[in-house]
Symmetry: C2
Subunit: 152 residues, 2 copies
Amino acid sequence: MFPMQPIGFVKSPYQETRQVPKGCGARHEAEGWLEILPEFAAGLTDIEGFSHLFVIWVFDRSAGFELMGTPPTDDRPHGVFATRSPRRPNPLGLTVVRLLGREGNRLSVAGVDMLDGTPILDLKPYLSSIPAEELRRGWLAEAEAHKSQAPS
Amino acid sequence: MFPMQPIGFVKSPYQETRQVPKGCGARHEAEGWLEILPEFAAGLTDIEGFSHLFVIWVFDRSAGFELMGTPPTDDRPHGVFATRSPRRPNPLGLTVVRLLGREGNRLSVAGVDMLDGTPILDLKPYLSSIPAEELRRGWLAEAEAHKSQAPS
């Protein structure tokens, strides 16, 4: 087992899971803060130059896991590793946020989809993109196509 | 503290850190396998539909951390959260791999930059890209520009 410690916590407008936008077309434009613990603040040096960051965090209010589950974006079950379900063998979340600014050990960000108080394990610069024409999005693309054809 | 368990291990051509391509212009096209433990294999259901995956893994041969360090891509030190240094408060690695195929609980992938035997903590579908024109790459872009102007 590998023990992981929080390097900080998310300040988010979402207090409960049901408040986080989910499903097809969900936009994550919410603004919030990544509050890094003072003892790790030196690790933020030069982070301001990056427009986007990866945040690795813990689904700390999720218990247990299920290997197959039905996500909010589809009505069919899929394997947990083909979804972003919180009920994972290791309850790790991954979010790309847009870095708006820094105030000491606090980063102002957009694109928050975590609950308020979520423990942060790591930050990394977001460096490259997969060209859209090379990207296949599996069952999610099918589910989106299916819903967009359904009567509204 | 949050304890994390391996869901599988990387089969990689790299036995030692010095074999992994690093620095400006490093290409990660190496092929390898993500070997998922049989008890988690059901979680791979429908993963074949995705072209790219996020792999969250552990730098299990890295000890301790430093908040400031000089990466192979530059001659100046930067904060650890603005780099991909293995010496992080939580030794988490993150790699985007291209999924070539699946054989049972083994995924054939390209883009491996982990050492052979690296513990895998999580897999997630790679769903979207940040448009290139919106992406700023901080000190790394400066270091690349600097080196491309240097006499070769």
